[in-house]
């Protein structure tokens, strides 16, 4: 996906649409990761934005972790609580449904994205309104709810500041916590100037790129939408099963506006978001802000348990979303990814993410967690999903910071195996790579086979003994991929095992 760099590409307003049109490419139609990163890598502005943002937040997270003396014990507690939820998911889901229903919430069950979107559209339509305000929510991005609402004649307005920038910029989010991480303030100014007036209160014509001025423009633009909206839509960070309470943590307060002003509130929540009790919630409320924004505590924590008469929304709905999660739960290795609390620490610390940003991951979940979660939720049949488990150098930095101890590197390797097995099943005639690795496997089965193969490297070493390094090799594939930018040492004429044998002989 390319990012518009010049204002001359400013678009005409599409009068057939209620909200700014997102990019037309569908995630699944995106190229495999190694191809998708090319434009990002060539964009120094983007790389600088990402480097600055990820380095800052990484440092803050490390500082906040260091303050907590029992951090590792808390991680273990979080891991065990989430594992318990996974093991007894049926029990906790039914308990949560009973408690929420008793508190006056209407609970809906959605098998997949389509079902979830239909439920939300139907509820909204029944309220005779043509717009909704939204809290930043990963679940509704996963289901592409905004476009489903648009098709049904309902405008969905993102109210999180960064999500607003993304929506107004006809863009896609590139990070789960700071979705406009790839934009700098002059780009934000241009987006606000060009777009806000098309969809509501315009930005002041003389607006500068000073962040407080930009925030103020967003505030004025959003205010009329908050005050007008009759339906709010949210996700949910946690549902406490034994009380039926929903929990949302945020930084801006815009979420609080959506949760309290409209008459109707619909929350779309993944079924893995349960915690058994309030005591369990404590562990996560301590881990999450420190891991995500590097704060001791997030500014706004909203907890609500059903309807309170005369205070806040009077019609509450919760849509419990599966959308592939039970399938993930079936896999004893891959299921550990379901512990994810969407903190984004893994992407902030990831050296690959830092250089390419989130768009090339072809999913609402970028970075290391996306590379293991997306191909599990969607399967591994498309080129992008097949490439995601390989979009990592397996450096393990993510494993260290994950607050719920997801062994991300191990699951990446596990998913690579799944991709290889899928391809074996699909194509009985082996590809070049399969032949190569079959050969390598055979060769490494015995020392004398490796010794035999070394004849080739030794011959090269003897023939070109004056050359220390080999430069570019113009044979497409792995050889060119390595040598296009890196020299490779000339193999030596004598291997270690030959040297050893010679030494033993002369003893």
């Amino acid at each position: 996906m390319t990012i518009d760099q010049s204002r001359s590409t400013r678009r005409e307003v599409d009068r057939n649409r209620l909200t700014p049109a997102p990019p037309t490419e569908s995630y699944l139609g995106m190229p495999a990761f190694p191809k998708g990163v090319k434009s990002e890598l060539g964009n120094q502005q983007l790389r600088r934005n990402l480097r600055h943002a990820t380095t800052t937040i990484r440092g803050k997270r490390a500082m906040r972790q260091a303050e907590v003396h029992n951090w590792q014990e808390m991680r273990t507690a979080a891991e065990q609580i989430k594992n318990r939820v996974g093991r007894h998911l049926d029990h906790y889901l039914i308990q949560a449904e009973e408690k929420m229903t008793a508190a006056g919430i209407t609970v809906h069950w959605a098998r997949d994205a389509e079902e979830a979107n239909r439920i939300v559209v139907d509820i909204t339509k029944s309220k005779n309104t043509d717009e909704v305000v939204k809290i930043k929510s990963m679940a509704t991005q996963e289901t592409d709810l905004n476009e489903a609402l648009e098709e049904a004649g309902i405008a969905a307005w993102e109210t999180d500041l960064a999500e607003l920038i993304v929506q107004m910029g006809h863009d896609k989010p590139s990070h789960i916590l700071v979705p406009a991480i790839h934009r700098n303030r002059s780009e934000v100014r241009e987006i606000f100037l060009d777009e806000m007036g098309n969809w509501g209160a315009p930005a002041p014509a003389d607006i500068s790129d000073d962040p407080p001025e930009l925030a103020n423009a967003a505030r004025l633009h959003l205010r009329e939408k908050f005050l007008r909206a009759e339906v709010g839509i949210s996700g949910g960070n946690f549902i406490v099963a034994d009380t039926g309470s929903l929990v949302i943590v945020e930084s801006e307060g815009n979420g609080r506006m959506c949760l309290t002003l409209p008459e109707t509130l619909i929350s779309v929540v993944g079924i893995e978001k349960l915690v058994p009790t309030f005591d369990d919630l404590e562990v996560f409320l301590r881990l999450l802000p420190r891991s995500s924004t590097g704060e001791r505590m997030n500014p706004y924590t909203s907890i609500w348990t059903g309807v309170t008469e005369g205070d806040g929304p009077q019609d509450l709905h919760v849509v419990l979303l599966d959308n592939g999660r039970t399938k993930v739960l079936e896999d004893p290795v891959g299921r550990e990814a379901l512990r994810c609390i969407r903190c984004s620490a893994c992407m902030n610390v990831c050296p690959v993410y830092e250089r390419v940003g989130g768009h090339a991951y072809g999913s609402v979940y970028p970075g290391p967690i996306g590379s293991i979660l997306t191909p599990q939720l969607r399967g591994v049949s498309s080129p992008i999903d097949q490439s995601l488990p390989f979009a990592s150098s397996l450096c393990g930095a993510c494993d260290e910071v994950c607050p719920v101890k997801i062994p991300i590197s191990d699951i990446l390797v596990h998913m690579r195996h799944k991709v290889v097995e899928y391809k074996k099943g699909k194509r009985p005639i082996p590809t070049g790579e399969r032949v190569l690795f079959k050969g390598l496997g055979w060769m490494m089965a015995k020392g004398n086979r490796l010794a035999g193969a070394q004849t080739f490297t030794k011959t090269a070493g003897k023939l070109f003994k004056r050359k220390q390094y080999i430069g570019p090799i113009p044979i497409p594939g792995y050889a060119a991929n390595w040598t296009n930018a890196r020299d490779i040492p000339m193999p030596p004429a004598q291997t270690f095992r030959d040297w050893w044998a010679e030494r033993e002989d002369t003893k």
Binding site: V356, G396, V413, G441, G447, P489, W499, W500
Partner: protein
């Protein structure tokens, strides 16, 4: 009495060092013998299988795991000069054995990983030495390598060994704990990102003014060194073992 007296060490050279960087296992032999160990090189050894496992070829990795167990089972100390290969043995061999549904192999791998050491760990933890009598009057900067840090978990042992080397000037590598971008087959499956990461690592290494970039893994060094060489930076790559093997009296081998 020398620290290694009475200890027989089976050297796991690793396939890449055996084939491409024989000076590294030679240096290991030199240091271990200097410290009194008896070193053996079982020639049936091949590869840890990591490149197969990490590319998703589990079935194809099984023979490497079997061969490792068969080759090294009789030894109390198995030592290799690579945090990555040693990490793969310890972290992945039992998993591959489970994949093979071979309980005997699984038990054998779980047992053998207890006796498998990275070179720096063996020196510091088993032999109890940090000063191995080395002399290296050069400016060097140390890259800790991800798998040494996070999978083999060798901690600061390589740095402790380096600090005890006479004549050495250790220069701090900026952003040392960030990955160099090698990542095994990542380097050729995602060459653009790999090179972007490697270029940053090479630039950081060159910025220190060091003559040598040192690490405990030749695969990472091959990648960073390939970029350093293409750019004519003048920074040489060197394995930790080769610095430790160097003495004022010169090489003994």
């Amino acid at each position: 009495m020398a620290p290694g007296d009475g200890k027989t060490v089976a050297l796991f050279a690793t396939c890449i060092n055996d084939t491409m960087f024989p000076s590294t296992p030679k240096a290991v032999v030199q240091v271990l013998e200097r410290l009194g160990c008896k070193v053996v090189f079982p020639k049936s050894q091949s590869c840890c299988g990591q490149m197969l496992t990490n590319t998703g070829y589990y079935d194809e990795a099984i023979p490497s795991v079997r061969n490792y167990v068969k080759t090294f089972d009789e030894y109390d100390y198995i030592v290799g000069p690579s945090g990555s290969c040693i990490g793969a043995v310890r972290h992945q061999h039992p998993m591959i054995a489970r994949h093979a549904k071979d309980e005997g192999l699984e038990t054998a791998t779980e047992d053998i990983v207890q006796r498998t050491y990275d070179f720096s760990e063996f020196l510091v933890d088993v032999l109890g030495v940090e000063d191995v009598g080395a002399y290296f009057p050069h400016r060097v900067t140390f890259h800790p390598t991800c798998h040494s840090m996070r999978i083999a978990k060798v901690g600061d042992k390589p740095q402790r060994l380096l600090r005890a080397v006479r004549g050495i000037t250790l220069l701090e590598l900026p952003q040392a704990d960030q990955c160099c971008g090698f990542g095994g087959t990542f380097s050729v499956k995602n060459p653009d990102v790999s090179v972007a990461m490697g270029t940053d690592k090479a630039r950081n290494a060159a910025s220190t003014g060091a003559e040598y970039l040192v690490a405990g893994d030749n695969a990472c060094l091959m990648h960073i060194g390939g970029i350093l060489n293409r750019g004519n930076t003048g920074v040489q790559r060197i394995h930790l073992a080769e610095i430790l093997a160097n003495t004022e009296e010169g090489a003994t081998l």
